[in-house]
Amino acid sequence: MQGKRKMADEQKITLAHGSGGSTSYELIRRITRVFGKPAAELNDSAVVGFGKSRLAFTTDSFVVKPVFFPGGDIGKLSVCGTVNDLAVAGAVPLYLTASCIVEEGFKISDFKKIVESMKKAATQAGIRIIGGDLKVVKKGEADGIFVNTAGIGMLRSNVSISVDNAKPGDKVIISGSIGDHGIAILSQRPGISFRTNVKSDCAPLDSLTGIVCRFGKKVRVMRDPTRGGLASALNEIAMASGKTIIIDESAVPVRREVGSACGLLGLDPLQVANEGKLVAVVSGSVAGKICREMKKNRYGKDAAIIGEVFRGKSGVYMKTIAGGKRIVEMLSGEQLPRIC
């Protein structure tokens, strides 16, 4: 055993370790043993008591390539990403810090553009950027710009949202079309020679989660399905709650262009990243009402009830348009384009 562990430590990090799938999870679990007991669950936000209130705290790093993409840039993404991690915990986002690692030779005008879009996104989300840091490294020691943001928010007192809280009879709501961000980014990669009009859905979700949170304890789980897509988010919920989730393919909104691009590249839209979508598991009694309310928000116009929670073994299934039924698996490894 000792020998095996030692061998594993001598291996090197590969890109699969950063994919957000199970390879990443294994590595993080191994590394966090340093803190004593292994981290039981790795949530989007940590929740800590502070006086009589509870605070949500989170941090995230952004290395998106290209830095500017259709529908946003690394600045907007880094603010929205952290705002959304706080928002889906049921918190009101309050303060944010940002630090940038910039490669020598990066254009100052581009840097300014990125910071301006951070400010714009923060204003829109009602979060204040209260601090930051800048480091410059030699050419070749970073790729353009990397951004880290950390955010803090106040947890609403009327909600108890948790990934293990899905109950039989609950409905699953998605706030709009899936896979837009992943396909928008992929379409910009060198070597991808198809043009799409797909824009990233990158957006702050705090106003949308605010609407959902009005329904108090009827709201069981909220997630923003980023890396690994809707499939991973639903699997996390099903696993943590010990329930079966069944979704209906015909109800899941997928843009035509996203569907076609996925077909071309051999990807499953359910596993493609989003950056401005909310998946909410809510009591069946209020699901229709919540969905209608969400539709009034600009980021929830295409909200739809896509599935239901059932008693039974942990797992996610989908009724297909063709009339069959299949498993919805978590993303594993890197998402690779298909080759034949």
């Binding site: 199970s22 294994e26 063709a322 594993s332 080759i339 034949c340």
Partner: protein, 352 residues
């Protein structure tokens, strides 16, 4: 239940085993949940139509060695990165410092040669679908007088592999669902020997749910009537003669040769090698022969899976020592691999 499924149930007469030859079909069958709609007794087995999966480990070892050479960039499709060779994979070698680049087409590799000025070796895998574009790229390289672009080929042909499966007699197959995109290039005629010599029906099939269900229905009917032929379900893309231009380009650059298939062995005239007029683009000159004796990881049953002889779930490593994150065999790596499809969609969990 959709009408086509009802029809399939109505027409179905007794235990039948069809093979979907191509990995894209395997994936589509799972993704559309088609297995859950089939009449009991209608079994689908997956065939050798995944180019990543049938590339022998020795070939991967040689590619790894190529990638490690000074001044060489190895460019290939993303799926090849994690395929285990005998000892390592291209992904692991990249982490060790080898210059391995993922490209989406051979033309991108040629562009890479332009941009970097370094020797670029394209590790070419694929079937009749991919090969004409690779041939065209080599013609482009010739036309522009490229001196730093090379191709390391492991290209293969589908019909000879089907003949080899039938000749071995290992698995009883009642019908073939043939890959529509391969036939978009070669047409339907190259499968003619199957109904003629083996009395087994073939349907060239598309990849949507309806395409697959209709193809199965066509196979069931042909089996019932006892009049096997090569039928074309994918007629919106596939002509009987295929794409003559693509075939011409392919044949102008490549010639057939015997080729080794992982899990199957050497199949006569089943591979494509550069014609001697194009040997200047061959990467063989950089290859040190005899690097390794290809061998599978002990217990790995990829070979039998590729022949349709066993299901992935019959393999002792499946879902335990072999997962998409930590693959022991090639069939677990590719997005078109049979084991990966079973793992993702058939509900076999990691600890199951």
């Amino acid at each position: 239940m959709p009408a086509i499924v009802k029809e399939l149930h109505r027409e179905f007469a007794g235990p039948t085993r069809f093979m979907e030859v191509c990995g894209t079909h395997t994936m589509a069958v799972f993704r559309h949940g088609i297995r859950s709609m089939l009449p009991p007794g209608l079994e689908l087995v997956s065939g050798p139509g995944c180019p990543v999966c049938v590339t022998p480990a020795g070939k991967i070892d040689e590619a790894i060695a190529l990638a490690g050479k000074k001044g060489i960039i190895l460019a290939t499709f993303g799926d090849m990165l994690r395929v285990p060779g005998t000892r390592s994979s291209l992904e692991k070698q990249r982490a060790e410092g080898a210059d391995v680049r993922v490209v989406y087409s051979c033309a991108d590799a040629l562009k890479l040669a332009d941009e970097t000025g370094k020797k670029v070796v394209f590790f070419a895998i694929g079937f009749e679908t991919t090969s004409p574009t690779i041939a065209q790229t080599i013609l482009d390289a010739r036309r522009t007088g490229k001196k730093n672009f090379f191709v390391y080929t492991a290209l293969k042909l589908i019909p000879p592999a089907m003949r080899a499966l039938l000749e071995s007699g290992e698995v009883k197959i009642d019908g073939f669902m043939c890959p529509g995109h391969v036939s978009a290039v070669i047409g339907t005629k190259p499968y003619g020997f199957i109904p003629r010599d083996y009395r087994i029906p073939c349907v060239v099939a598309g990849f949507e749910a309806y395409d697959i269900l209709e193809s199965l229905l066509m196979l069931v009917r042909m089996k019932k009537s006892g009049k096997p032929e090569v039928a074309n379900q994918y007629c919106r893309w596939v002509r009987t003669d295929g794409n003559q231009r693509a075939v011409e380009i392919l044949n102008s650059v490549f010639e057939t040769s015997d080729a080794e298939w992982r899990g199957i062995g050497v199949i006569p005239s089943s591979g494509l090698n550069l014609r001697k007029e194009f040997l200047e683009f061959s990467a063989e000159r950089f290859v040190d022969s005899g690097i390794s004796a290809p061998e599978e990881k002990s217990g790995c049953r990829c070979g039998a899976v590729l022949r349709g002889a066993v299901k992935p779930t019959d393999c002792p490593l499946f879902g335990k020592k072999c997962t998409p994150d930590n693959p022991a065999g090639a069939c677990m790596v590719s997005s078109e691999g049979t084991c990966a499809a079973y793992f993702r969609y058939a509900g076999k969990k990691k600890n199951g």
